[in-house]
Structures are given as structure tokens and as C-alpha cells.
């Protein structure tokens, strides 16, 4: 029976138990922003929220990480790759859309001839404890991109808030190991399961409108030169918010920074929305204006990636819709494309 139940006031204790053995990240209410942060006690975790401002990618694919450092004395240069994390980590309270975003990132970073070791090494040592969405936001559209508010992809455990207790679904063997740190677990009863199912149906029906994404990437195939791109991008000011808050944006830049006696090579988030992304040494830029750059963001997520990996590179979390300073809404773009 892989469904357990834990009392709500037992969850802090469970987290504290995890903290002894793992580095635990959980949504933390900062000054004004809810973000996934490392916590040192169960109290700090906030488990009543819609979604974190930034996606859980922050914990796996940090905004900047040192790829390697090298020391330079007279003759020798020794370089030392950044040592892998010692303790395993647990991302606690991750929403299904973010967890699915993690699986898509895993697929990409492990594809091709060269695997991204810095990310994958962290990912192998990371367990994800998901938290189902009983109340999706008006801007969420995960059901339109193949996800669901009670989705399980990428998770080791799925918690469902049943009111004064959580239903805990064990999805992987690692998830089971995590439960070792929980006390007062009992098997889920028929009634628990029925309540969870009802909440799941309610959440599914909570979406005000379903986005038409059937055949979306095929339709985009012939649309590279379509005139809609000339008007769709007009209000975009070309900042990096939509890509930085997005759980499925993993493009990065690599820079060196000098240090006292050597230097470090850093990988940091980059965005296709800024001109520097493709500006060449000769001064030529294949994507000179906002039109090409917005087209790249839409085409990569809804056409290029699906063609190669079979699923949209958008999990419908709605962050880019909520955070865009000029309210450029990707749902509107999808509807425009589908109505062509």
C-alpha cells in the first residue's frame, strides 16, 4: 500500500527529520517574495501558497555556479572542477508543474553526446517531495500542456492536503527512504483516497478555460516567416523575466572572473530575449530585434523542443504571464497561433 497519511502538525517534524540527513529546500516567505530556500528547521517552510515566485530550478540549476577554479602560479596551472555536493538534498513542497519542469530539464541535459555533468550530478542526489495544487491560480494552464494539478512526474513523494492531514503517495524507492524520517504515519483509508480523488477532480475543473494546444507544434512548423511575428512582439521590452522565472528555461552563459591568484569559470543564467545572446564578434546578430527573439522563445518551447523530445517545453505554470511587466501573455500567443 503506497499511500500513507500524516497529520498536518506532524509535517514540521517530518521536515526536521529530513534536515538531519539532507539539505532541505522549501518555500520560504522572504520579505515580500516566496522562494525555494534552504531551511534549517521545519518552521521556516511555508506550505500554504499558490506557487513560489521563482521555479524550483533555482535549487538544481542555480543562477550562477562555479564550473571550475584554477590556480596560476609561475609555471603550473592546476584546475579543479567544483566538487560535487556532499549531502543529498530534498526539495520539499514543489508544485507538479515545477516537478514536470525538472523532468524536462533532465531530459535535455542528459540528451546528446555530451551530458551536463554539473546539473545531472546534483539531480541524481536530489529528491523531490511534491505538493498537489488544490487551488490552481487563474493564470495556471498546466492541464493544457499535458500536466495536471495532481501530477506526479519527477517526484519521489506526492503530498495532498486533505485538510488537517496530508495523504502521502510513495512514488519511488527513494521516496520510501525519505519517509523513514516521518513519525505517526498510518496507511491511507478508503475514505482518505476518496477525498483525495474528489479534491483532484475539483482542482481539474477549477481551470476557467482550456487552451487549445492540440497540434500546436505541427502548426508552428510552417509559421517561421508568418507576419504575425511582426505585431505579436511589439509590446515586449526584451527583459529577461519570463525566462528567469520559467521552470523550463535552462539556457546559460559562461564567463571567467579573475581572482587573487587565478580565476573561476562561472555558468550563469542567460536569456534569448537579450541581444547579447546571439551577438557575434563581427557585430552581426542573427536575432537583431525583439521580433526574432520572441519568435525564438515561442518556437523553441512549442516547436523545436517538442519535435525532438515529444512534449511541449512549457508546463503551464503561468509565471511568465504573471511577471511580465507589459502583460505579454503566452496563452494569448498560443490562442492566436491556433486560430490562424
Amino acid at each position: 500500500m503506497n499511500h500513507k497519511v500524516i497529520a498536518k502538525d506532524g509535517i514540521r517534524e517530518f521536515i526536521d527529520g529530513l534536515i538531519e540527513e539532507y539539505r532541505v529546500f522549501a518555500p520560504v516567505e522572504g520579505k515580500k517574495i516566496l522562494r525555494l530556500r534552504e531551511i534549517s528547521s521545519g518552521e521556516e517552510a511555508c506550505l500554504d501558497f499558490y506557487n513560489t515566485k521563482m521555479s524550483s530550478k533555482e535549487a538544481l540549476f542555480p543562477q550562477n555556479e562555479v564550473l571550475f577554479t584554477y590556480k596560476k602560479d609561475r609555471e603550473a596551472i592546476e584546475k579543479e572542477a567544483t566538487s560535487p555536493m556532499k549531502r543529498e538534498q530534498v526539495l520539499f513542497g514543489v508544485r507538479p508543474c515545477d516537478a514536470k519542469g525538472v523532468t524536462l530539464t533532465d531530459v535535455f541535459f542528459s540528451s546528446g553526446e555530451h551530458r551536463d555533468q554539473p546539473y545531472l550530478e546534483k539531480r541524481d542526489r536530489t529528491a523531490i517531495v511534491g505538493l498537489a495544487c488544490n487551488r490552481p491560480l487563474n493564470t495556471c494552464f498546466c492541464t493544457s500542456t499535458g500536466g495536471s494539478p495532481f501530477g506526479k512526474e519527477g517526484m519521489d513523494l506526492l503530498l495532498v492536503d486533505l485538510g488537517e492531514r496530508y495523504l502521502v503517495e510513495i512514488l519511488t524507492e527513494r521516496g520510501e527512504r525519505l519517509l523513514g524520517a516521518a513519525h505517526g504515519l498510518r496507511d491511507a483509508t478508503e475514505e482518505d483516497m476518496k477525498l483525495a480523488q474528489r479534491l483532484s477532480n475539483e482542482a481539474d475543473n477549477a481551470f476557467s478555460k482550456e487552451l487549445p494546444t492540440e497540434g500546436l507544434s505541427e502548426r508552428l512548423d510552417g509559421m517561421f516567416e508568418d507576419p504575425i511575428w511582426d505585431t505579436i512582439h511589439q509590446k515586449c521590452v526584451g527583459c529577461g523575466i519570463c525566462t528567469f522565472v520559467c521552470p523550463t528555461c535552462w539556457c546559460f552563459d559562461v564567463v571567467d572572473e579573475e581572482k587573487a591568484n587565478g580565476a573561476i569559470r562561472i555558468r550563469l543564467w542567460d536569456t534569448c530575449q537579450l541581444p547579447l545572446f546571439t551577438l557575434q564578434g563581427s557585430g552581426f546578430n542573427p536575432r537583431p530585434s525583439g521580433k526574432e527573439r520572441l519568435r525564438q522563445r515561442v518556437m523553441h518551447k512549442l516547436n523545436y523542443f517538442p519535435k525532438e523530445f515529444g512534449s511541449l517545453a512549457c508546463v503551464g505554470c503561468g509565471r511568465c504571464v504573471r511577471e511580465c511587466p507589459v502583460n505579454l501573455d503566452i496563452r494569448e500567443i498560443i490562442e492566436t497561433i491556433m486560430s490562424m
Binding site: 501558497f49 521563482m54 487551488r135 487563474n138 564567463v255 572572473e257 550563469l268 536569456t271 511587466p325 494569448e332
Partner: protein, 316 residues
């Protein structure tokens, strides 16, 4: 402020019909409650989209850069002043811009409303003269607009655009007696240690997304100083000092140019109080160089000229 919409559509329609402009840049209803979005209108039957209410907070003059067609732009007091500054810096051809002036009684601050909602989601918001009706799942609240207005608007000195080609409706009485530098003064009264602590804490959550730079009409450099590589002055990561320096240097670049429209603070996804810096830049222009930003295209920018009797008390 509410209800000017039909007048706006009529003026915009006339400008388009008579060929005085090829394009109208205004506001239309956003896809989210409490949001408006920029609207680019070229033909008559889209005019119905134009709206004007306290959600119209984006500074549209950003969209005038790099365009050489004749444009009619809806501009609040602060927006019009930023057009004037860009005009005086030769970035916008004033001859090609028709400013449709909007007397503005202030735009709302979404972050104040979100704080008031304490986590509840706003599903719908409508305006009824001086108040804002917010509806959500199982609740409805009526909020006074004045209580949730952007701080810049509470002490705005130019509710009527100082420069315009056509004004929509009657000018509003200007606000008097509000101390617009209240927050800056309060910060200045603190010790250097406390101020440093404040900025470290605020800037600590910056994710270097550059939305503050990209929504700002004053930021139009082809290559921003943070993007320079030869030499690479400052780091590109969101390491603390590099981030603080980015905001510090941007504020310096805004001295005598920032009209305090608040677009940067409203755009920041991490709710950083950028106005604490930009307002200081504006205060320096006013107090040290006695320069009121954005009133006429004739005056040269503050850091572009000098006077024999500039203050030099800081020089030892």
C-alpha cells in the same frame, strides 16, 4: 480620471483619419485583473480597445525609441516628461510625436493590493469613481484607490503633462504640500551603516533580469555598461557587489533624467524598492543643480553641461 476613454478614442481616431499620425500607442485591457497592456493601433476599428483607468501604469514613451514613423502617444504627466527628456537628448524626433496628454490622478500599485489580499487571488477588478471593487473566490472588497496608489503618484507634481499637443479633458488641480522625498529623507537620516544594510538587503534578491533597465525610457544605450567586455567593468553574475554596483551606476546615469514614473519598481519581479535610488537621483538634480526634469526640450541634461558656480563643498 475614469471615463475619458471615449474622448481618447475620438482624438486618436481624428489623428489617424487625418494622417497626422500613422500609429497610436495607448493602453488596452490586460489579460489579468488589475493589468493594462500597451496597444499599437493603426486602423480605426481597433480604437475601441483604448482604455484609460488607474491600471494604465506602463511608461509608453519607451516604445518611441528607434521608430521613424509619426506616432500619437498617450502620455501621463510623467510619461510626457520622459518624452521631453528623450527629445532633449536627441533620441526622439519631437516633430514626429503627437503627445495626447492625459491628466492623471494616479495609478494603482499592484503590490500594495496583493499585500492587502494576503494571499487570496484577485479574479476581477473594476473601478467605480474613487474606489476599486475587487472580486475573488468567495470574497468581494471595495478599496479606496487613494489608499493603494503608487507612492510616486501620491506626491506627483505634474498630474497634467507639462508638454502636450492635445489634452484629454480638463486639467486636474496639482497636488501641493506633499513631500515627495519623504522616503529618501528618511533613509538619509539613518546612519551610513543602516543605509548600507538596507541596500544590501533590498538588492540581495535581484536576479539581474534587467526589466528595470528595459522598461525605463531613459535606458537606450546600444551597449549597456554591464554588457561591455573590453573592458568588462563589472561582473555579470548576481553576486552582491556586482548587483549593487549595477543599480548604483544606473541611478547615477539617471541623474537629471529620471522623471520618477515608477515603471522600474512596478516592473521588478522581486519587489525591490528601486525608487529609493531613482528618487535620490532626481533629488540631486533638483537640490544640487536646481534642475526640474522634463519640462522643456531646450534645457541641456544635467551631466552634459556645467556652470561656473557649481557647488563644490565636497572638494577638500
Amino acid at each position: 480620471m475614469v471615463g475619458g476613454e471615449d474622448k481618447i478614442r475620438e482624438i486618436a481616431g481624428r489623428l489617424l483619419r487625418e494622417g497626422e499620425v500613422d500609429l497610436i500607442i495607448g493602453y488596452e485591457k490586460g489579460t489579468l485583473p488589475l493589468r493594462s497592456t500597451p496597444s499599437f493601433i493603426r486602423d480605426q476599428n481597433d480604437l475601441y480597445k483604448l482604455i484609460w483607468d488607474p491600471t494604465c501604469d506602463i511608461n509608453l514613451s519607451k516604445y518611441l525609441h528607434g521608430r521613424d514613423e509619426k506616432i500619437g502617444i498617450l502620455a501621463k504627466g510623467c510619461d510626457a516628461r520622459s518624452i521631453v527628456v528623450c527629445g532633449s537628448e536627441g533620441q526622439i524626433d519631437m516633430g514626429k510625436v503627437v503627445i495626447i496628454g492625459l491628466p492623471c490622478s494616479g495609478v494603482i500599485d499592484r503590490k500594495k493590493i496583493e499585500a492587502e489580499m494576503e494571499g487570496r487571488e484577485v479574479l476581477e477588478a473594476t473601478f467605480a469613481d474613487q474606489s476599486l471593487v475587487i472580486r475573488g473566490e468567495g470574497f468581494e472588497e471595495v478599496l479606496p484607490i487613494k489608499g493603494f496608489m503608487d507612492d510616486s503618484c501620491l506626491s506627483c507634481r505634474h498630474r497634467n503633462p507639462p508638454v502636450y499637443d492635445v489634452l484629454v479633458g480638463e486639467p486636474l488641480p496639482e497636488i501641493t504640500g506633499a513631500n515627495e522625498y519623504a522616503e529618501v529623507d528618511e533613509l538619509e537620516s539613518k546612519s551610513a551603516e543602516e543605509r548600507w544594510g538596507y541596500f544590501v538587503e533590498e538588492m540581495g534578491s535581484c536576479i539581474r533580469c534587467y526589466s528595470c533597465r528595459n522598461v525605463c525610457p531613459m535606458c537606450y544605450c546600444k551597449e549597456c555598461f554591464v554588457d561591455e567586455t573590453m573592458p568588462a567593468w563589472f561582473g555579470k553574475t548576481n553576486e552582491l557587489t556586482d548587483t549593487i554596483i549595477y543599480h548604483l551606476v544606473r541611478a547615477i546615469h539617471l541623474t537629471g533624467r529620471c522623471v520618477d514614473c515608477g515603471a522600474c519598481s512596478r516592473a521588478c519581479p522581486m519587489d525591490i524598492n528601486l525608487k529609493a535610488l531613482t528618487k535620490k537621483a532626481e533629488k540631486i538634480a533638483r537640490e544640487r543643480f536646481n534642475f526640474e526634469v522634463g519640462l522643456t526640450t531646450e534645457e541641456a541634461p544635467v551631466l552634459g553641461v556645467f556652470k561656473e558656480d557649481d557647488s563644490e563643498e565636497f572638494i577638500i
